[in-house]
């Protein structure tokens, strides 16, 4: 399958060829947002003046015979926890809305802009990234472009919805427990949550330092690949940034030869709706994969991730929890407060378990290259839906959306989420999981699946396109 001509690289190719000006591409994105985002609520801030100025700069460089970069004129947007110079990093909160504007762009924003991409705005999210649905009490729920009565997922809900709606072809989000993978799956787009530490988080408001990563959303695998290529690499200003040397651009034409692909069994083969589990089975069958592998102690990994997240998140916001707890979104306040009250032993024990679990995952990936697993247990829930029934058991919708994503990010593994199916018009995704630092392998596999038509973005009804 050929990537859509209106993906980021497709737009950049048109701009570089002189078939489309960066200014026209930017105006088109701004017009689409103006026409469609009142219904979806994916953007919290549109930086139109900056976008138009950046677009003119790209056009001027081209007119002068200079190279504006591989993403020349391609519009992009970022979750509203990345610093954007001159804008307040709101992070979905009322409290941070009182902060002064950022003095500089976050490193990820700076790198994409330096590659010619044009920043269009900042995107809706759960308050301080603590949630899976982007039902934000301060800025409103972000709606799913496939059904406006349903959530877009979270916490990077705006990032998933803005790509699915066709407002911009490329967005950034952050993933701590599934905050990139869940909205990507529910909105039917591709996403990459890289290996922990490979992308700079400098200038990104943290949620849980030992789990946070920058992730990308796109309508094509090649856009994910170029985004990873531009963004990965050591940044000395991020103390948790891995100092591995940069890699060559990912090979998207390598195919699947020589790769050992398996499907996750046990924990990952139950606890979801039949449609969600069938989506994985169908992909496995198409690839001739039948051998299940067991990811050991996945339930405990999810449990430990929740303890670590609550404790670290509460510590980060402790001063605000002491002085103005009433200004938090009620959806996050109670969880942050609980995290602040959790005994230190629980946190330390969870970190001990994490090192043990990570070692076991390393051992597992000596026997397999890529593991397939569901991304979410069900398609997008309705806005305000508190409970769902799975396997005759009633679960809390919001936290349960992370049931398949949390154990994986807990180990710091890279995951590429591919859109594979729709159920009653609602998208479903599959996680492709690889060993630490095998991000390029995931891009290679996803590109092959995209070419075969086994992975493709779902098509939302977007009259503003």
């Amino acid at each position: 399958m050929t990537p859509a001509v209106d993906d980021a690289l497709g737009i950049a190719a048109q701009v570089r060829a002189g078939d489309l000006s960066a200014l026209a591409a930017t105006e088109r994105a701004l017009a689409a947002i103006s026409a469609g985002d009142d219904a979806i609520n994916s953007f919290t801030t549109v930086v139109a003046d900056r976008a138009l100025a950046d677009a003119r700069r790209v056009d001027d460089l081209l007119a002068a015979g200079k190279d504006p970069g591989p993403l020349a004129g391609a519009p992009f947007a970022v979750k509203n926890l990345f610093d954007v110079a001159g804008e307040v990093t709101v992070a979905g909160s009322k409290i941070s809305a009182e902060d002064p504007p950022a003095k500089a762009d976050a490193e990820a924003v700076r790198r994409l802009s330096a590659a010619g991409a044009v920043l269009i705005g900042m995107l809706n999210m759960d308050e301080y990234a603590y949630g899976f649905t982007t039902e934000n009490a301060h800025y409103g729920a972000c709606r799913n472009p496939f059904d406006l009565t349903r959530v877009a997922g979270g916490s990077s809900g705006g990032s998933g919805a803005a790509v699915a709606a066709g407002f911009v072809p490329l967005t950034l989000g952050s993933d701590t427990n599934g905050s990139v993978r869940v909205p990507a799956a529910l909105c039917g787009v591709f996403s990459l949550k890289p290996t922990y530490g490979r992308l700079s988080c400098h200038g990104m408001l943290p949620f849980c330092d030992t789990l946070d990563v920058v992730g990308s959303f796109a309508a094509s695998v090649r856009d994910l690949a170029v985004s990873f290529d531009l963004l990965h690499g050591h940044d000395p200003r991020d103390r948790l940034s891995d100092d591995r040397p940069r890699e060559a651009p990912p090979d998207l034409d390598g195919g699947l030869d020589g790769l050992r692909i398996a499907v996750a069994g046990g924990y990952f083969a139950r606890g979801g709706t039949p449609e969600a589990l069938d989506a994985v089975s169908a992909l496995a069958e198409a690839l001739g994969v039948s051998e299940p592998v067991e990811i050991p102690h996945a339930a405990e990994a999810r449990a430990a991730a929740m303890v670590i997240t609550a404790a670290e998140g509460a510590q980060l916001h402790l001063e605000s929890l002491r002085t103005r707890p009433g200004d938090f979104d009620p959806m996050t306040r109670d969880r942050f407060l609980a995290g602040a009250l959790a005994p230190a032993r629980a946190y330390l024990q969870a970190q001990d378990f994490r090192r043990w679990f990570r070692a076991r995952m390393r051992a597992l990936f000596e026997t397999v290259d890529v593991i397939l697993a569901p991304a979410t247990p069900f398609p997008a829930p309705i806005v305000g839906q508190r409970e769902a029934v799975v396997d005759d058991t009633t679960v809390l919708t919001q936290p349960y959306l992370g049931v398949y994503t949390q154990p994986i990010s807990f180990a710091g593994l890279p995951v590429l989420t591919i859109p594979v199916a729709t159920v009653d018009g609602l998208p479903l995704g599959v996680q492709l999981i690889a060993a630490h630092n095998a991000d390029a392998t995931l891009l290679r596999v996803a590109a092959d699946l995209e070419r075969r038509g086994l992975a493709r973005p779902a098509e939302a009804v977007t009259p503003w396109r």
């Binding site: 500089a104 976050a106 430990a304 402790l318 002491r322 707890p325 109670d334 009250l341």
Partner: protein, 72 residues
């Protein structure tokens, strides 16, 4: 629940957190989930030699901080 409530109120005093009466049911529910999760983790018989290194937790600087010299 009484035991959890007693612990939580003491921990809130220790942490200088003033929790509105209306919020306590939600806070206790979430704290109970965290305790259940901690118990689940504790039940895994991990070898201490596998987990001896101290956890790494460090705050990231923001873009507002001046960049280090020579950084990209």
């Amino acid at each position: 629940m009484d035991e959890l409530d007693t612990y939580a109120r003491a921990a809130a005093r220790l942490g200088r957190l003033e929790i509105d009466d209306a919020w306590w049911p939600g806070v206790l529910r979430h704290l109970g989930v965290l305790c259940d999760n901690a118990a689940l983790v504790e039940a895994v018989p991990i070898a201490l030699t596998d987990a001896a290194a101290p956890p790494t937790v460090a705050a990231r600087p923001t873009a507002a901080d001046p960049p280090a010299e020579g950084s990209s």
